[in-house]
């Protein structure tokens, strides 16, 4: 049923942007969600087509090819760092604020304090010059109040830790879409530096 719906939507209108304007109810089949159901697809754009590359949880990716990096975050935070000089960018999907929480963990992209320098370093290595690094962040929601009451406010802590890490590494924070109670789908165009965020089942916004 779901697949059939997706197929239908694709055939009727393959354009992401115009689908998002169709009427929808709060729990309904959201056309924009439906179109993103396929795991790999090409985003239609007025100028160019971009390949979507998914960044897994606790992972980070740095790209120099023209792609859109995507990830889904709830309490996690997506850190998008854009290099405006080299037209490259990287996205880290962090889960925890501080790498000191656990011992002997080698996965730097899991923690706010280690992911930011790792991302910046990877971008510097990939480019000819290191100027023009800027960041946009999204995530840090608290979707379930029982969880929040019980196990500290991890979303909030993640956001704070990311901001601190950006400041420590001298990277300017240009925009943010954080906190709240909805999960976010983040799409980061590494060429333009634009980040499209869809919060829950609302419309896509650009930050």
């Amino acid at each position: 049923m779901w697949t059939r719906l997706c197929n239908l939507l694709f055939t009727v209108n393959p354009l992401n942007t115009s689908l998002a304007k169709l009427p929808q109810n709060s729990y309904g089949a959201k056309p924009s969600l439906a179109s993103s159901f396929a795991t790999s697809k090409v985003v239609q754009n007025s100028e160019k087509s971009f390949q979507e590359v998914r960044v897994d949880m606790a992972d980070m990716k740095v790209e120099t090819k023209p792609v859109v990096l995507i990830t889904n975050v709830g309490s996690c935070v997506a850190i998008c760092i854009h290099d405006s000089v080299n037209k490259s960018g990287g996205l880290a999907h962090i889960m925890l604020p501080d790498s000191k929480i656990t011992k002997n963990d080698v996965l730097v992209s899991k923690y706010a304090d280690t992911a930011v320098p790792a991302l910046a370093e990877a971008l510097r290595k990939s480019g000819r010059s290191s100027f023009g690094l800027s960041a946009k962040i999204a995530g840090g929601a608290n979707m379930f109040s029982n969880l929040k009451a019980n196990s500290l406010n991890i979303g909030e802590k993640n956001v704070e830790a990311v901001k601190e890490a950006l400041e420590n590494n001298g990277i300017k924070l240009l925009a943010e879409d954080v906190r709240g109670t909805c999960g976010r789908r983040v799409a980061f165009n590494i060429v333009t530096g634009k980040v499209h965020v869809r919060c829950g089942n609302k419309e896509v916004t650009e930050i």
């Binding site: 109810n25 729990y27 949880m57 889960m95 379930f144 969880l147 991890i154």
Partner: protein, 212 residues
């Protein structure tokens, strides 16, 4: 990604916790839940052979590969002598169909959002309640459920808070899952259980006392 992922549906005990016991417990709970669901829908509901997964928490989303799938989830937290998070997840379309059946309307499009929300909450209560009964009977622990909470979002976004919570206490996530199926073969839902370290220990001790 070189880290190991183990998925077990037979006993194969790791260092601390006897997975077979958790699996047995989960199966009893899932059996109860399937019976209640069959009564509600007036049609046979079958469950898949339940599985226990132990893997690093951050690997869970890539295990399910449902990243962007719009999902409706009911979450209930059990507290008291032991703690456990239980999640019941449906694809949004599936949740609508279930709500239509529970509200006795023909088409999923005829269900208004409020009716759907309360139907899904109620379903969560029933399924998770069955689990709670199995858990209390088995452990003898006094468990109190918090009221259910519902969220509709992408699969990954719903899961991540629970994975973070597990990550705070352990390098490995332990999660139990089973799938409910209606007679027509449509996958209806995934039930996940995240036992806390305390509960894992309680279960293991209980199992030992049975054996000796």
């Amino acid at each position: 990604m070189t880290e190991s992922v183990t998925t077990k549906n037979v006993e194969q005990s790791p260092e601390e916790v006897d997975l077979g016991i958790v699996l047995e417990l989960g199966s009893i709970g899932a059996g109860h839940a399937a019976t209640s669901l069959s009564e509600i829908f007036q049609e046979p509901i079958s469950i898949e052979v339940p599985k226990i997964h132990t893997m690093p928490p951050h690997m869970v989303p890539s295990h399910y590969k449902k990243h962007d799938v719009p999902t409706t989830a009911v979450y209930m937290q059990l507290r008291g002598e032991a703690e456990c998070d239980i999640l019941l997840m449906f694809e949004v379309e599936e949740a609508k169909k279930i709500a239509a059946m529970m509200n006795m309307v023909e088409s999923p499009d005829d269900v208004d959002p409020d009716m759907e929300a309360s139907a899904i909450d109620e379903l969560g209560n029933i399924v998770i309640g069955s689990f709670l009964t199995a858990l209390s009977d088995f452990t003898g622990a006094n468990l109190v459920p918090n009221p259910p909470e519902r969220a509709t979002d992408s699969f990954d976004a719903i899961l991540d808070s629970f994975l973070i919570k597990q990550m705070l206490s352990s390098d490995m996530a332990m999660l139990f899952d089973t799938q409910f199926k209606r007679a027509d073969g449509n996958i209806s839902g995934i039930l996940m259980m995240f036992p806390s370290r305390d509960l894992q220990r309680t279960l293991t001790e209980k199992a030992k006392s049975w054996v000796s």
